[in-house]
Amino acid sequence: MNGKRELWPRAAQTDRWTLLVAGVALLLALPVCTVFFTALQPASEVWRHLVDTVLADYVLNSMVLMLGVGLGTLIIGVPTAWLTGVCEFPGRRWFEWALLLPMAIPAYIIAYTYTGLLDFAGPVQSVLRETFGWSRQDYAFPEIRSLPGAVLMLALVLYPYVYLLARAAFLEQSAAVLEVSRSLGAGPWRRFLTVTLPLARPALIAGMSLVQMEALADYGAVQYFGISTFTTGIFRVWFGMNDATAAAQLAALLLLFVFTLLVLERLSRQQARFHHTGQRTQRPPRLQLPSRLKWLAASACMMPLLFGFLIPAGQLAAWTWRTAPQVIDGRFLELARHSLLLAGGSALLILLLALLLGYGQRLRPRPSVRLAVRGAGLGYAVPGTVLAIGVMLPFAAIDRTVDGWAREWLGLSTGLLLSGTLFALLFAYSARFLPAALHSVEAGLTRIRPSMDDAARVLGAKPREVLWRVHIPILRSSLLTALLLVFVDVLKELPATLILRPFNFNTLAVRTYELASDERLADSASFALAIVLAGIGPVILLSRAISHARPGHDALS
């Protein structure tokens, strides 16, 4: 080694990582930026028309959906969390994780299933008619394909978010606080209302905000129920009225709602973190319920499980049993292969990007890098529909420009290079699901002490090698978790896939949607069931995290 030799000055080395991280982060922020910039353009005829006619409906329906689902998840999630977290009753251990199962069912699938169950020809009404000898005019049956129906459907599959955070918050509450209130003469009910619930409030608000973001982002269920919300409106304006600008303006408005929720969620999470100031004391012993209440508690926990998972999954299985021989053929297998390859490929890509950002941030913990990574982490709040617009607009513009040049200079048409390709789809998935993977990677990396990096460096490893030889092997299990979570998310994703997929490229989710739209619910069941089965994977992981979590550890994060 020659000391006189000029190696790269340190400044230049620094910039390589910084630039890489900032570049990836900026690229991922492109869709949201595009939506906002497009929305700033002057209002078009279509937009004015929207404002005059349906915009109020969109806003109103979306608000009702958001508030209704928020309330519904609280009603389901908080009592079940309190019962399984604090009380003792038959089946408590089993309910602890089983209550997460509804997470495995995407909202659009539960909507299809209940429609099939409850419509005129469905089993429920048929049984009623046969039992009582009614005919069509003799009775009124509530219509599931309605706004209240959508609220119910979404609440049934989204309550686990509230359940998880509320449960963690209840478990975290120290025995001391409860004992103090007990010594001050408060009975169980007053303790719950005046101590337990207020202490858990930040966690509840955080969970509810997450749920509400999901409710605003839903496309499949509300579209199927024929409800005009932001997401269905965006579709209609874009593909029905062919006005991308107005669609972007609608999307920007939706984003404002979402970001409000996001801020709410962040603030509550921070509050939740600082809420418990005292030392962690011992967990209070579980509340032994009197025998009658015991069974009441068990049935209360059974309800969401029954309606959120067992019935819809059972119906899907029944349909599958009936239709599988016709549906499951070579095309089904090819579709499944497409889906698996797409989900697997995206998950790998996203994990790689998450590692890049997470490790880049560790190497260069400077404000600019942190900010870039934070920015890339906002994507999870952005509804798939909005993201699709944000990807489609710039890609189409690039395609047009390149095509124009090629025609002018080379005399040939390049056609669609980016839009309508798998690349566009991968890009949208990355922007949407990277945050989930990044969260796992960051959480894992912070557990590795910095001296580990230093030790590897003095032992001759370059920063890149440190990542491969030290961090990745140590993080193996959290990386696999992230991989699985993203894999299932991609498998379930509907609106962005619907918009951005290449021509004739089908996935399980898209095929389910198409068959359901054609009122072939029974035929769609095999595809839907495949998605649900895949979705059980992350539920198992989460439930394991729950049973291993000590009090004070957030099972969700």
């Binding site: 001296s451 030790a455 032992l459 490893a461 030889r469 092997p473």
Partner: protein, 362 residues
């Protein structure tokens, strides 16, 4: 002759704070040194700068004459051939003991790698533990693995960032001595960072005392104790008090305990106030002595008592006496001074002027 390790005029900053200021030192031929100082004095930062983790604001670092760092240019840690042992050891949890040791050797030929790993396992006495994982062995064994791993690529210099601090005091000195022996056998230079002077004495030939980012003195343990360069070193190393006195016409210092012969600080003239460093072992308990002092406190140390004595003026004095001289507090006992190395500071001056100014030993 080029020095082994040479730091020249170092400034290291964590903006806006200057952690290391104008620090220079030279280590002679592959010796074993120690940076000693209270916590927050910048010693770990200095070690990290030598390892290549912290850029320099000013100055340069050279190892065997080859420049490693200067402002705006830092040779990456992996290219410096400097090893490091960390305070938390930082063993790789996913690798076995043998694989931890072999981490830096992955480009060696398999046979050579195996031979080197076995050699090191033998050196630290862990042959039977090669296939264990770090969490399956004891704390002391983990220290040895960390040492073996750091030595594996035959670094020219090994930096040790308080690696023994998690051990109890007796084990700490034993291990420090053991590591010293191993380094000498391997022909590797060592630089330890510590806040524990006994660990430093056990480990190092040369010790630098750091305070607030400055090197106060770089010297042997003996000289640090007996010829401290300034008040900080005098108070940080060993025990002792500063006895007030005044330079008399005869050039000696008049104190409460009589005249003390010594070279007065440079520039001192008769009538100037000075302070003389008096170590506990400089004060001899002698019943026959006319000089008396009252016992204020006593601490039993086994073989000896450490007495805190009160002089008539109120000044305090420490005295080590064999433990069969048992005197209760309040008793007046006879003492006399027997100071081998008289160290005088000018009163209210922080820098000693008695010897030549502190220079890096070369």
């Amino acid at each position: 002759m080029t020095p082994f390790l040479e730091l020249r005029d170092l400034d290291v900053t964590y903006p806006p704070r200057k952690v290391i200021r104008e620090l220079s030192l030279q280590m002679r031929c592959t010796g074993i040194g120690c940076l000693l100082g209270p916590s927050g004095c910048g010693k770990t930062t200095l070690l990290r700068a030598i390892a290549g983790f912290e850029p320099l604001r000013r100055g340069s670092i050279r190892l065997e004459g080859i420049e490693l760092s200067r402002p705006h240019w830092t040779l990456p840690p992996e290219q410096r051939q400097i090893g490091m042992m960390f305070q938390d050891l930082a063993l790789f949890p996913h690798l076995t003991v043998a694989d931890n040791i072999a981490f830096s050797l992955h480009q060696w030929k398999a046979a050579e790698r195996r031979a080197r790993v076995n050699e090191l396992l033998r050196l630290v006495g862990l042959e039977e533990y090669a296939r264990r994982h770090p969490h399956q062995i004891s704390g002391g064994q983990q220290q040895r693995v960390a040492l073996a791993r750091a030595l594996a690529p035959r670094p020219r210099l090994l930096l040790l960032d308080e690696p023994f601090s998690s051990l109890d005091v007796t084990l700490r000195e034993d291990l420090a001595r053991e590591v010293r022996t191993i380094l000498l056998r391997e022909g590797t230079g060592g630089l330890l960072v510590s806040h524990d002077q006994f660990e430093a004495f056990a480990f190092a030939d040369e010790i630098g005392v750091l305070d607030e980012g400055r090197l106060r003195q770089w010297d042997s343990a003996y000289n640090l104790y007996h010829q401290p360069a300034d008040r900080f070193v005098a108070s940080f190393i060993g025990q002792g008090i500063l006895l007030p006195g005044r330079i008399g016409e005869n050039g000696r210092a008049n104190t409460e305990l009589g005249d003390i012969e010594g070279t007065p600080p440079g520039g001192c003239v008769a009538g100037d106030d000075v302070e003389i460093l008096v170590r506990p072992d400089d004060v001899i308990h002698d019943d026959a002595s006319p000089l008396k002092a009252e016992v204020a406190e006593r601490a039993f140390r086994g073989a000896e008592f450490l007495y805190t004595l009160k002089l008539p003026s109120g000044a305090r004095l420490l005295c080590l006496a064999p433990s069969h001289h048992n005197h209760p507090p309040g008793r007046r006992i006879g003492i006399r001074l027997d100071i081998d190395h008289v160290v005088m500071f000018r009163r209210n001056w922080s820098v000693r002027c008695v010897e030549s100014p502190p220079v890096p030993a070369s």
